[in-house]
């Protein structure tokens, strides 16, 4: 993935973390670390590998929290529909 593959639209006063390998800008440092590991796995130095591992673990944690919320939403949809069908 190189810079020329995509068009970007970076707001003037926004925080920017740019990839040293392909120039792609990200809004969060953690996303840059993830991008490094996903798109440039063979070019990274040790620090970047460590940063990727850390970001990946954090991502797993937040995905776990998201799954709980999603499950809650699913159960809510199910019961709301169930109740409506029971009443109608």
């Amino acid at each position: 993935m190189t810079q020329s593959d995509h068009a970007y639209d970076v707001p003037a006063d926004a925080p920017v973390f740019e990839c040293d390998y392909c120039g792609r800008p990200f809004a969060r440092e953690r996303w840059l670390a993830l991008h490094h590991g996903l798109d440039h796995p063979n070019e990274l130095d040790d620090d970047e590998v460590t940063a990727f591992r850390k970001a990946h673990e954090d991502e797993e944690d937040s995905l776990g929290a998201f799954r709980l919320q999603a499950l809650g939403a699913l159960v809510a949809i199910y019961f709301v529909l169930l109740m409506i069908y029971a009443l109608v």
């Binding site: 639209d9 998201f66 999603a70």
Partner: protein, 450 residues
Amino acid sequence: MAVGSLCWLLAVGTASAHGGSLAAGGRESLTIPTWLFLSTGGAAVGASFLLASFVTDRSFVERVHAWGTPLVDGEARIPRVLGRAIGVAGLAAVVVVGFFGPTTPRTNLAILLVWVGWWAGLAMTTYLVGNSWRVLNPLSTIALALPSLDRTYPDRLGAWPSVVGLLALVWLEVVSPLADDARLLATAVVGYSVLTLAGSVVFGRETWFSEADPVDRVFRYYGRVAPVSRAEDGSLRLRLPGMTLSTPRLVDGADEVAFVVALLWVTTYDGLVTTPAWRALTTPLVSAGLPPHLLYPFALLAGFGLFLGVYRLAVRVSTRTAETYLAPDELAERFAPPLLAIAAGYHFAHYLGYFLFLAPALGTATLAPFADPAAVPVYQLPDWFGGVALAAVILGHLVAIWVAHAAAFDLFPSRLQAIRSQYPFVAVMVFYTMTSLWVVSRPEVPLPHL
């Protein structure tokens, strides 16, 4: 709507042909109030997004999308020549029988071949199996024999002529009696052929059919939903249905995004104008003096503008929910192809019953094109058939949700960011589902005011 009016005509013409209109079948199966039916459909789409978001294993998503097996290596010559011959013979039949055949719509081969065989049947095989129009397209075959001036096609035009062409064709299909009047249909086919061949002579065959021709683009885009696709080298490949839609650069530029949205909109519009609600809504407008001939194109353009506006708004919101610095146009291009699965699902819902109902009539007319039998065989659809239409609408959305999920995973480094990028698109899909389900569940009435 031309196709609908043919249905209507047959329904009136044959004693117990209530199954002719798919919408009527859909309505009979409804035993719950409409608002609940629509909310359930919308909830099903929302719930499937939540379920898809549980699949967060990147390598699994990639494996599902990369799975494929080669079918035939290289271009096979004999099927290609045969396919082209069939296509040209079909065009010849439409023109000859259209001008000289019987004038009853349900016995005229030209009408049955165009609407039942081609626009319903062939289009269905295109997204269910693969795009054979590429080979069958008779105009493309005839263009091979014509000289070319090879003028440069203006780049800035891009796919816009095909967007305008698609809207114009659907407008013509809706307002004119193209499904009742074989002579008129043959005239329209000749007119379209002359225009298309002129275009391909001026700009070159390849350029014309890949850029400006709306029909070729419709079939090409539907073909991307299909399991059988063609690789760069011409070999055929089998993939899971819809998986090709997550490929980057499948849709390139605002013009091609507009075409995808136009395709989605015209299938909806086609059904919308035959609902009783449309009649009720437009009757006061027409009696207040609005000319019906302006009403239909205006509604077509306004609806297209609305669908496109809603999609572009979703893209804007998505750049914010995903906190990405990718330009909105990038997202618009990447998340447009999944909409093709929705359009295909809706087309299937709209035309399967119509196709099955009239397929025996098409068979009879093919065997004896100039006979004008008094009784035409039709296939009576079973009562549960309306459920198939509803299932097709929902299934199209499920494929779209999954494909957009995969495309988002490919586009964003953070999986949570990818899931968040989909919130506005899911909202839009819920809106589309509810609209389509509503249209499919309405009884079909003849086109008002024309």
